[in-house]
C-alpha cells in the first residue's frame, strides 16, 4: 500500500511555485493571480466534476457523484476553516495542473478533450507524483461523500451504505453533535463540581 508523501507541505510547495502565489479564498483564488493562470473558478469546478466522474463513474445503477453529493462535500471541505489551507489549496491547484497537462499532452483544455482522451490524461497523471497524490485526495473525499452519515447532506438516502451493504452504528449523529458544531465543547470555559452540571 502506498502512503501519502512524508512531508505533504514541502511536497505541495515543490510542485509549482507559481501556483502557490495564491493567498485568496479557494475557488476565487485564480481570479486574483498572475497571467500564467487561465483557469476561472467555474472552470475549476467543471474540471473537478469531470475528474470525479472519471474516478467514480456512473454504471450499473451504482451511486454516482451526483447522488452522493461529492462536489458539495468537496466545496465544503475547501471552505472549512479547520482544514489545513495547504491541503485545500492543493485541491484547487490540481485542477489547474491538470489543465496544464492537457495542453502539454493534447494541446487543448481538459474539458475540450473527448471522454477517451480525458481518461487517458487521468491515467497519465496518476503515474506522476503530484497527480497520484491529487487523485488520491479526491478519492478520499469521494469515499467520505459515499460513506459518511447522510446528516452531512451526502450519501443521499443512504445510497452508498445500501450499495455496499453497510450497517451504520447507533446512535447516529445528529445536531448539535455533528462536525463542526461538536467542537463548541472545546470553547467551554466551565468548572464542573457535580454530575448535575453535565
Amino acid at each position: 500500500m502506498k502512503v501519502k508523501p512524508a512531508n505533504r507541505r514541502n511536497f505541495i510547495k515543490a510542485l509549482g511555485a507559481t501556483a502557490f502565489l495564491l493567498q485568496f479564498p479557494f475557488w476565487q483564488a485564480c481570479q486574483n493571480t498572475n497571467n500564467l493562470d487561465k483557469t476561472s473558478p467555474s472552470l475549476q469546478q467543471a474540471i473537478l466534476s469531470g475528474v470525479l466522474n472519471i474516478l467514480f463513474p456512473t454504471f450499473d445503477k451504482t451511486p454516482d457523484i451526483r447522488q452522493i453529493n461529492a462536489v458539495y462535500h468537496i466545496n465544503r471541505y475547501l471552505t472549512d476553516p479547520l482544514i489545513d489551507p495547504d491541503e485545500q489549496q492543493f485541491i484547487i491547484n490540481g485542477t489547474k495542473w491538470l489543465n496544464e497537462s492537457a495542453h502539454e499532452n493534447f494541446k487543448t483544455d481538459f474539458l475540450q478533450l473527448s471522454a477517451k482522451k480525458q481518461q487517458k490524461l487521468i491515467q497519465i497523471i496518476s503515474h506522476e507524483s503530484w497527480g497520484e497524490s491529487w487523485l488520491s485526495k479526491l478519492l478520499t473525499l469521494t469515499f467520505e461523500a459515499l460513506l459518511l452519515d447522510p446528516v452531512y447532506d451526502i450519501n443521499i438516502n443512504e445510497c452508498g451504505w445500501k450499495w455496499l451493504q453497510h450497517l451504520p452504528g447507533r446512535p447516529r449523529p445528529d445536531q448539535p453533535n455533528i462536525y463542526p458544531d461538536i467542537l463548541d465543547r472545546k470553547k467551554e470555559n466551565i468548572i464542573i463540581t457535580g454530575l448535575e452540571q453535565l
Binding site: 500500500m1 502506498k2 501519502k4 512524508a6 512531508n7 505533504r8 507541505r9 514541502n10 472519471i54 474516478l55 467514480f56 463513474p57 454504471f59 451504482t62 479547520l82 489545513d84 481518461q119 496518476s126 497520484e132 487523485l135 488520491s136 478519492l139 478520499t140 469515499f143 467520505e144 459515499l146 460513506l147 459518511l148 452519515d149 446528516v151 452531512y152 452508498g160 451504505w161 450499495w163 455496499l164 451493504q165 453497510h166 450497517l167 452504528g169 447507533r170 446512535p171 447516529r172 449523529p173 445528529d174 453533535n177 455533528i178 462536525y179 461538536i182 465543547r185 472545546k186 470553547k187 467551554e188 470555559n189 466551565i190 468548572i191 464542573i192 463540581t193 457535580g194 454530575l195 453535565l198
Partner: protein, 562 residues
C-alpha cells in the same frame, strides 16, 4: 471562584493514570482539582459518526494548533525531525475528560511476574536499557483485581502456561458475546497445539450502577461509548468522584508550568483556560498524568533555578527511555461464497466480538543463540467496520497503483459484500533504548507559544525479530482456518496510542525520575501516574497496568495526606 482555594490534590490529566487517583482521593474526603486540556464530551455527545471519530480533529487537537515533532531515521540513516503539522503523522490520542480511555477498544491484559524482572530474568541485551521494576507483580495484583471490579472487566479465566497469579478465581463480569469465528480460531489453533484464551475486555457484559451493559454497536474502538459499558476513566471513575462533592474538574485547561517554592516543593500549577487566559492553582500534592509524551514535556518546560533542566530532571532522565508497544498487525480474508449460507451469515454478524488471545509464546527460544527470550501476545479481531477507512485502504491495488473508475467500484463492492477480514495484532516489548526519548523542540511552538515535544522514535531490532516469530504463528492459524490473502506487517513504527516511559521509576535516583511510589526523587509532592513510570512495558496493552498502578499510588497518597 472555587479555584482560589488550596486543594489537597491537583491532578493534571484525566485518563487511565489520573482516574483512580481522582476516584480514591475524592471518596476519601480530600479536595481534588482536575485540570484537563481537552473538553468534556458527555456520553450524549457521542455517536457512531466516523466524521468526528476519525476523519476530522474532534477528539484530538488540530495539528496546526498543537503540532509535535517526530524524529525518525531517513533513507540516509540520519535522524530527521519533522513537525506533525507538516507530515500529518498524528501522535495525539483522546484529548478530553477521560482521555483516550473513552476511545480504547478495551483489550485488557495484566503484566506477568516476569515483566517486572526482564533484566534479571533474561539478562542484558546490547543497545537496550533494560531495568527491573522496583516493585513485584504481587505488589500490583490487588490493584489489578480492583480494576476488574471498579472499572469493570469482563472475561473468563482459563488455566494456561503463562496465567498470572490471581487473588480471585474469575472476572466479575462474564465474557461478552462472540462471533462464530472465535470457535474457528480455537479449532485451528488446537490443531496446531496452540492454546487460545478468551480475551478480557474493559467492557461491561451486564449493568453496573448507572452504566448499562454493552449493546454491541459494532463501533467500539475509536468511538465514545453510548451505553457507558466501556470502562473509561470518565464514566467509571470521574463520575463517581463527582458524586462525593470533593472533586472539581476544569476542562479545556492546558497546564504549561509547574512552579516550585524554592525548597524543592511544588506549589502551583499554571494553565491556560478555554479563553487562553493564564491561571494558577495551589495544592498540597500534584499528580501528573498527561500521557507519557506530554508528561515529560510538561516537566521539561517547568524550568527554574532549582531545576535548570526541567522539573525533577537534575539527573537528566526526564523524557528518556520512552517506550511504545512493539509488534505489528496481520490478517486474512474469509469469502462468504466458500461457506454454507448459515455459516456465512454467522460470520457476517456485526457487533459481537472475536475476543481471542494467545499467550503460549510469552517466552521463546532465540532462533540463533537458543537462549530463552521474552516473547509476546497475539490478539485476534475483525477489521474495524469504519466504512471510509476501509475504502481508503482499498485505494491501491496489489501493484501499488491507484484504483479508480469501474475497477475501483467493482473492487469496493466485492470487498464490502463478499468477504470479512480477520486481523491479528502482535504485542511485544518495545525495548527501551537511547534513541527513543522526548525532548523540547527548539523551533516549533504550539498555539500558546510554548515549545512542543520532540519525540525520537528509534526501536531496537530485537523487537522486530520477536514480532516476526509471533506473526508466523498467527499466520499458521489463519492458514489452518482457510483464510485467503494472508499477510503480516511487523515494523518498528510506534503505535501512537500505546506509549509509556519517559519518567521511569526505580530505586536509584541517578538512573530514574521516580521512586517505587511513583513520587519524584527530587520533589516529594510530585507524583506521576500515567504510563511514564514504566521502565519496561511487557508484551500486552498498557491500560490495565496504568489503571492498577494509579490505584496503588492513590493508596500511598491517602497515607501521605493523613
Amino acid at each position: 471562584m472555587i479555584v482560589d482555594k488550596k486543594y489537597d490534590v491537583c491532578v493534571i490529566g484525566s485518563g487511565a493514570g489520573a482516574g483512580p487517583v481522582i476516584y480514591e482521593l475524592s471518596k476519601a474526603g480530600y479536595s481534588v482539582l482536575v485540570l484537563e486540556k481537552g473538553p468534556w464530551y458527555r456520553t450524549k455527545d457521542f455517536s457512531k459518526d466516523e466524521m468526528a471519530a476519525t476523519r476530522r480533529s474532534v477528539y484530538t487537537p488540530n495539528l496546526k494548533d498543537e503540532p509535535q515533532v517526530i524524529e525518525d531515521l531517513n533513507e540516509q540513516g540520519e535522524w530527521e525531525a519533522k513537525s506533525t503539522y507538516e507530515t500529518g503523522r498524528d501522535f495525539w490520542n483522546g484529548n478530553c475528560v477521560g482521555g483516550s480511555t473513552n476511545f480504547m477498544s478495551g483489550y485488557f491484559a495484566r503484566l506477568k511476574p516476569v515483566d517486572f524482572k526482564l533484566l534479571s530474568t533474561y539478562g542484558e541485551i546490547e543497545g537496550a536499557n533494560l531495568a527491573d521494576w522496583p516493585i513485584d507483580y504481587d505488589d500490583l495484583e490487588p490493584y489489578y483485581e480492583k480494576v476488574e471490579r471498579i472499572v469493570g472487566v469482563s472475561g473468563k479465566v482459563v488455566p494456561h502456561k503463562y496465567l498470572e497469579p490471581r487473588s480471585t478465581p474469575d472476572f466479575p463480569y462474564p465474557p461478552l458475546k462472540e462471533n462464530i469465528v472465535s470457535s474457528w480460531i480455537d479449532q485451528a489453533a488446537a490443531g496446531l497445539n496452540i492454546q487460545t484464551i478468551p480475551l478480557p475486555r474493559a467492557i461491561l457484559s451486564k449493568k453496573k450502577g448507572d452504566r448499562q451493559s454493552c449493546y454491541y454497536s459494532n463501533f467500539c474502538g475509536s468511538y465514545g461509548c453510548s451505553s457507558d459499558a466501556k470502562g473509561s476513566s470518565r464514566v467509571a471513575l470521574i463520575h463517581e468522584a463527582l458524586k462525593t462533592g470533593n472533586c472539581t474538574v476544569i476542562p479545556n485547561a492546558k497546564v504549561y508550568y509547574l512552579e516550585t517554592n524554592g525548597r524543592y516543593q511544588l506549589q502551583k500549577a499554571w494553565y491556560y483556560d478555554a479563553d487562553g487566559q493564564k491561571k494558577s492553582i495551589e495544592a498540597r500534592v500534584f499528580v501528573v498524568a498527561a500521557q507519557a509524551i506530554e508528561t515529560s514535556r510538561l516537566l521539561l518546560m517547568s524550568k527554574n533555578k532549582e531545576f535548570s533542566n526541567g522539573l525533577a530532571n537534575n539527573n537528566g532522565q526526564v523524557g528518556k527511555n520512552l517506550i511504545f508497544s512493539g509488534g505489528g498487525v496481520g490478517g486474512g480474508d474469509f469469502y462468504y461464497d466458500e461457506l454454507d449460507e448459515n455459516l456465512a451469515k454467522a460470520l457476517a454478524k456485526p457487533g459481537v466480538f472475536v475476543n481471542r488471545t494467545i499467550q503460549d509464546f510469552y517466552e521463546l527460544v532465540h532462533p540463533k543463540t537458543h537462549q530463552k527470550i521474552k516473547g509476546g501476545t497475539i490478539d485476534f479481531l475483525f477489521e474495524h467496520a469504519n466504512p471510509v477507512s476501509k475504502a481508503i485502504r482499498e485505494k491501491w491495488d496489489e501493484d501499488g497503483h491507484l484504483r479508480y473508475g469501474k475497477p475501483l467500484k467493482k473492487h469496493l463492492h466485492y470487498y464490502f459484500t463478499k468477504l470479512r477480514k480477520l486481523k491479528f495484532e502482535i504485542f511485544v516489548d518495545w525495548l527501551p533504548n537511547d534513541n527513543c526519548f522526548v525532548s523540547l523542540d527548539s523551533h516549533v511552538k504550539d498555539k500558546w507559544g510554548d515549545p512542543v515535544a520532540k519525540i525520537r522514535i528509534g526501536h531496537h531490532p530485537h523487537d522486530i525479530m520477536v514480532g516476526e516469530v509471533l506473526a508466523e504463528k498467527a499466520k499458521q492459524i489463519l492458514v489452518k482456518m482457510g483464510a485467503h490473502n494472508i499477510y503480516a506487517a511487523i515494523s518498528g513504527a510506534p503505535p501512537n496510542n500505546l506509549q509509556a516511559g519517559g519518567c521511569r521509576f526505580g530505586n536509584n535516583p541517578k538512573t530514574s525520575v521516580l521512586n517505587a511510589q511513583c513520587q519524584a526523587h527530587e520533589v516529594s509532592n510530585l507524583f506521576i501516574t500515567d504510563g511514564s513510570f514504566m521502565p519496561t512495558g511487557g508484551s500486552v496493552t498498557y491500560t490495565w497496568t496504568i489503571y492498577a498502578n494509579s490505584f496503588r499510588v492513590a493508596d500511598i497518597l491517602k497515607q501521605m495526606l493523613k
